[in-house]
């Protein structure tokens, strides 16, 4: 320990005591942030799934989930009196390999929307209509299934494939 070294000693006290202060302080801070990060997961982390997976999952009503799908443009309805919008999204594969094999995300979105057999989900979102909410956009919604079979979204993220990728050639 540091206090065993006689005064005037030229031996460097291998920082035993001093380092401990830094180590203890550091560990305390790291532990506090780690604890915060983990406890914040509760209620703030969501399961990530496709529409088909959600509809197949038992106990789907209670979970807070994140869903990705293709927007069916014709179904977008704005209820500005009550301040919410509703629209349908249809299932797209969640696996990037499959998406690439099908010709890229824009082709996948296009296929999903025109296919009447696609598994569909009605989304209810409270808020203003985003500019990117349009036909064949990719919507990523976070929220919960409701008893009436609709999905109440707290969060709506839209990706427009034309941003970086071509629309399918006519």
């Amino acid at each position: 320990m540091a206090d065993e070294i006689p005064p005037g000693s030229k031996i460097k006290p291998n920082q035993g005591f001093r380092v401990n202060k830094f180590v203890v302080g550091g560990i305390l801070i790291v532990a506090a942030v780690l604890l915060l990060a983990i406890t914040s997961l509760k209620g703030n982390a969501q399961y990530y799934m496709t529409i088909s997976e959600l509809q197949a999952a038992p106990g789907k009503w209670e979970q807070n989930v994140r869903i990705s799908g293709a927007v069916r443009g014709g179904t977008i309805q704005v209820d500005s009196k009550n301040g919410y919008i509703t629209f349908q999204i249809v299932n797209i594969p969640g696996d990037l390999k499959t998406i690439e094999q099908m010709g890229g995300i824009s082709a996948v979105l296009h296929q999903a929307v025109i296919d009447p057999e696609s598994a569909a989900l009605t989304i209810r979102y409270r808020g203003a209509r985003p500019d990117l909410l349009k036909d064949e956009a990719q919507a990523i919604v976070t929220g919960k299934m409701q008893a009436d079979g609709t999905f109440a979204a707290d969060d709506l993220l839209l990706k427009c494939p034309s941003k970086y990728q071509a629309a399918p050639l006519e």
């Binding site: 915060l36 399961y47 990530y48 203003a128 209509r129």
Partner: protein
Amino acid sequence: MAADLGFGVLIITFIVSIYSIGAAVAGTRMRSPALIDSARLAARVTFPLLTFVNLVLIYLLVTGRFEFAYVYQVSDVSMPLYLKITALWGGQSGSLLFWSWMLSGAAALAVNQAWKSETQFTPWVTLTVMITLAFFLLIVTFVENPFARIWATLDGKVFESMLRPAGAFLIYPPDGVGLNPLLRHPGMLVHPPMLYAGFAGFVIPFSFAVASLASGRSDNAWLRISRPWALGAWTFLTIGLVLGSRWAYDVLGWGGYWGWDPVEVAALIPWLTGTAFVHSLIVQSKRQLFKRWNIVLVILTFCMVIFGIFLTRSGVLDSVHAFSLSSIGPMFFVFISLVFIASLSLLLWRWKLLASEGRMESLFSRESAFLFNNLFFMLLFLICLAGVLFPLLSELLTGTKMTVGAAWYKRTTGPVFGGLLLLMGVVPLTAWGSSSAGKLGKRIWLPALVSLLAPALAILRSGLNWSGITALWLITLAALLTLFDIANAVVHRMKLQKESFPAALGRVFMKNRHRYGGYLVHLGVVMIALGVVGVELYQTQTQQTLAKGETLQLDGFTVAYKDLFQYQASDGRAVTQAVIDVSRNDRLLATLSPRSDYYSLYQQSVTVPGRLSNLAEDLYVVLVDWQPTTTDAATFHVYHNPLVNWFWIGAIVMVTGAFFAIGFPGGRKVKNI
């Protein structure tokens, strides 16, 4: 023809970069200065070559050659010239080519710098930057080729390819898809080049660190050369991030500027490790500490730059099952892993050589403050990395894919940012070497007492908001302590040199650019924090449908819906514009015109908010909906964003301070470490 030439030169550039790598390796092994010089010259040649390739692609964009898939995807006939040029970085393959060009520019400068100042470093710097460049050229040349044409076969299949597939014929589309109107914002046009400049800049400190390790040096030469690069890269990355935020605030119409989207976080991660580095390098240059740690930081920053480009450009984030690897995914994965393992092995090999020459004395010393600064930035880095990788991590650990969003990031990073604010304020009061809590306390108590005024005011105005008053207290404390320290130095100089206040202020700043430029950056951070607190903790909002003449109330503002009209703009937009009167206490403050532009060509509407904007607050009015024919009623979403403009002012102060620290303006070369 032009495209074939461009592609040919691209291949030649790739070969030149490979040659440069080979010559650097051979030159080192055979101890041949001639070969090493040849490697250096080859590295420099890649810049003019890639300049030519980029110009060819710009030429194709400007002349509207839509038979090229890239031109077809990112441009159209109606776009003005400047948009056609900026479309160079508007899509995947073009932006990778553009980034390669920036990297080759930085490489050309760096290899020369090594040659002139630390000749011993030349082969290693050349090797490192050229391996990085060759990796990206490999992708641009063989996987994401911007010169690929669009082909079709008679049975209706469409290909993108450089060479003609068997039985296919070339398609000449009359027009392209064009750039989404939402992205036509000056901030968004300059945002990618700024990010890329920052990314490219961070490659250079990494290459000098590798050079230093490989040549078995234990001095600070690599750090001295790297410092301006790191500061410059940091500055450009900061500009890039802020421009992206400004775009979100102006265009996206949700009254915010940062959504913790994975793409945003991916760009923030190298900024965090880079910020840790520009701080900890000071400790090495002043106290010979943190030598190994600085190398680790530079390696991390480099890997995170490549990781960031991968995340934002590979499309993995579009997928629900993020991180199932796309075609360029495995290449990035292999490259990052190899770089990480190779550079860490290099560090372990030289581990003993890089022992600290000094040691930490006191918990209250300045080096200790820097240690905790680095700890906090590392925590932020780990939080962000964990957040981005969370879908992958959770699937590995629990078998189910989970994801975290803005709420998690805010809760987790908030206290760490608070700790950083506190440190930032206290650091100027600490001394190198030994210091004690008592000494620190003597200097801190008065500013600490004065700073309590801010939370007191906040309570009077907005009530008890615990996070809000804590944050405001930390912000005021940090600002006061920084200003006190500057004032001390100025007053001292006024007394000693009998100078006037402006003269003393100027001299103090000019004499120690690194320190006072850094203080300016810190004052900018304080302002940014003020803006963040205003929006995150004191924002209020409402959405209401109003008939003409009706009003709504928000935070003392009265918003009255006066009128709505629609017209066709000359550039093809269908504009719906509302007239809104904003008043407070029966006094008319402004007439706003929130509007919605519909671009029928792109089937895209663009919401342009009406804004009443001053230093105290923004009133941000979005036209959400209206009755199409009668225009009697319309729906508005109104945000009250207190203090938000300090975010943008702070960003300008921050960037100014950083440029000042690097040496602009002023002409004279900055005295280095």
